[in-house]
Amino acid sequence: MSRPLVLASVALLALAGLAPIVWMLMRLESGDVSGIFDARTLTLLGRTSWIGAGAAGIAFVLGLPFGFLVARTDIPGARTLRHAGLVPMLVPPVLLSMTWSVVFTELRGPTAIILVLGISTFPLVAVFSARAFERIDARREEAALLVGGLRSVLAMELPLVLPAAASAACLAFVLAINDFAVPDYMTSIGSKVNVYADEVFASWQSVHSPGKAVAAALPLLVLTLVVLLPALALRRRGSLATWDGDFRRPGALALGSWRWPLFALAFALVAFAAALPIGRLVWEAGGGARGWNFAGFQAAFARAIEVGRADLQRSLLYASSAALISLVPGLVLGHALQRSRASAWLEPLVLAPLAVPAILFGIGYIALWNHPATTTMYSSGFLVVLLFLGRFACFPIFAGAGATATFDPHLEEAARLAHAGPARRLVSIVRPALQSSLFGGAALVFIFGMRELDAAILVPAANGTAMFRVYNAIHFGRDDFVAALALLIVFFILLPGILWSAFGRERWEVAA
């Protein structure tokens, strides 16, 4: 390990991800924490946990078999289904709510909330599971096939894949419990369902006791960490259990007579979770209930491009910059997490920026950066890049750690004996092996950066992003314009994946 590189990466993480949190925590006074647990907030927390668990359960039940089908079997169009299955994660969950509540008019209440959040997060489980299924050595699988066919293969593989799938389900839980837009929207009619994230947002109205607003965020932070830390342990188990030194990549499993029925199931899931929302947006962009026509569709896109061009450019610039920069801590800290003894304290620190509620993170950025000496920086797009990096760097870092776990340490040792320095070993020996996983993690930084709103809304330059423009237009903008702009955002989020899939030498993968 290169100590200067590790220290530089830790410093970058501290600046971008931890300093705003520490800054906010310093506002806490002794009396602020006392009132955060009462019967009301505990009820909210209990309900939030229950919704999170339901959403994670759905994500798990859908994602695990979907990941297996698209990554390891011979179902028709597996590659296309695999990419299309990512769409629900790319579309803001509240847009999914709007679509499904229009199509299924009776869909509302707690069940609807769980369903929407579960479907919007199932791609996480699918991606992690797919990757874990691909890590199972072909020789093990051949042995299982010889012994008892596909049933034996699944019996052998499931215990190996479950840790990765469960850790992704934990991530789904975290995303679900921090969302308040979906519960709000899905209970717009009928009995109201409130969640703890509402409490966090509403607490910021208490302007004269800022410590209380920070304190209100703590239970959600604790709940998030309580779930994420076991997820990390599961991730480690998963990555170490399924990858051997002289790995042989497994081939596609023949499903026989199950091939078409299972294809139909996977297709139905993609149609419901991905094609329906996109189809709905296409319908809206072309005129929707007023009558769809292609000329209207073109006009909506022309207007969306005209009005939103600069916003889209900025969104792409900020999100791709953050994604590219994140490769550096991803490589350095990902490697350090796996190889050093510091991982026990480093892991929670890496996770903390993702675990804190978005509004607390955003206000932390204002408090930290709005000073006379940093005024230029505060107003610039650099701060948006830094915010995206700080909040989402955990993805490439853990992807890097997962990939390092599969990398034979003897190769690094051999390079060391050949007098290669730590930095050179990291860049020349380790990096090539981690590259695809790091790109997968960086892709997540890009995706979440493109759709980020809650924290970014508080940073000046984020005012000019495409997601901001969409949410601004939802109120008064025409439906066709909003739909066209949302479609453009989804297209640009998907674009790197499409390009990578079309021209990349290796598949776009996320190490689980």
Partner: protein
């Protein structure tokens, strides 16, 4: 370590990001009036004055909280010059915390005193009214005349309002405490909360959703703002606006409020902008826009059918008191409605 292609791209993008917003504007405006309406006006101001304005907007989902939180956080090193709020309560709260500059704009002379801060810290113009939007296919507007109809059991499952934790709905409920008194207002909000638990009154995420639900015929009527009503009407929904409680507390009027921040970096330009926005022409333009803001000056022309404050009973509210009590009311309503 050799510079890899990735590092080269990184440095290029970093450079771009750092320089992207480096141009210093002549004026910075934080604006919670919808971007669609405010942006063309600001661009016209730029054209007419030659000043470069950097405007930042709020989104509907943030209900002004985003910009207000920023103004408070930035108060030690102010960045914003002018805060153009599409409602008044948060601006009053900022004024009472000493975060606003005093300025009596000459353009505000004709604006009634009730819409101006006596200390000159903010000026109100172009108001929205809190009305009941009624779907005529589902309810006879003549039978809905009062705020109490919302909690009448005969409308169970057909009445709707936004969750009163942010935005104009919070301001509205907070105002009721002033005009009805503690006990009566508490009775009203408590009944709404109890009915929302059974679904007899639905609580949405905002006033636009209320207008959409009523316009689409999913609900018979509900509280919303006149600008949201105007959008529903424009979409062709069979809706009418009821200005309630003509015999009671009246209808709440919530003006836009413009204010200059204390320590504004571009004070002269800020005053020029405030003068420009407060002209009757701008109020007229906002009245004829899709957001249908009601001019507070009787002399300003308005579209046919748009009522003036003389044609309905306006809730007698002291905006100063309302703003001062907003935080206390918000905390109370949070405890009641977030369960």
């Amino acid at each position: 370590m050799k510079a890899t292609p990735i590092l080269r791209v990184l440095s290029l993008l970093l450079g771009l990001a750092a320089t992207g917003c480096a141009k210093e504007p002549d004026l910075i405006v934080y604006c919670s009036l919808d971007q669609e309406f405010a942006e063309p006006l600001i661009q016209r101001f730029e054209k007419e004055t030659g000043l470069a304005v950097h405007a930042e907007f709020d989104i509907e989902a943030a209900k002004t909280v985003g910009l207000v939180a920023r103004i408070r956080e930035e108060s030690k090193n102010p960045r914003c010059d002018v805060f153009w709020n599409n409602e008044v309560a948060h601006t009053v709260a900022l004024a009472s915390d000493g975060l606003l500059e005093s300025y009596d704009s000459p353009s505000a002379k004709e604006i009634p005193a009730g819409f101006r801060d006596p200390g000159g810290h903010w000026t109100g113009f172009a108001a929205r009214a809190r009305i009941l939007i009624v779907n005529t296919a589902l309810a006879d507007p003549k039978t809905i005349t009062s705020m109490w109809d919302l909690v009448d059991p005969k409308w169970a499952g057909k009445a709707v309002m936004a969750k009163p934790l942010t935005g104009t709905t919070l301001t509205h409920m907070a105002a009721l405490y002033s005009v009805l008194g503690e006990a009566k207002a508490a009775e009203y909000v408590t009944r709404i909360e109890q009915l929302s638990m059974t679904g007899a009154v639905s609580l949405t995420n905002g006033n636009a959703s209320v207008a959409r639900l009523v316009g689409d015929g999913k609900m018979a009527f509900g509280w919303t703002d006149t600008d949201d009503f105007a959008v529903a009407k424009e979409r062709g929904a069979p809706v009418v606006a009821v200005y309630p409680d003509a015999d009671g507390c009246g209808t709440l009027l919530l003006p836009n409020a413009i204010a200059i921040l204390k320590g504004a970096p571009h004070l002269a330009a800020a005053k020029r902008f405030e003068d420009w926005v407060l002209r009757p022409e701008i109020e007229k333009e906002l009245a004829f826009s899709r957001s249908a803001q009601i001019p507070v000056r009787d002399s300003v022309p308005r579209p046919d059918g748009m009522l003036s404050g003389r044609q309905f009973k306006v809730m007698a509210i002291d905006y100063g008191t309302l703003g001062a009590e907003l935080e206390k009311r918000a905390e109370l309503l949070k405890k009641l409605f977030l369960q």
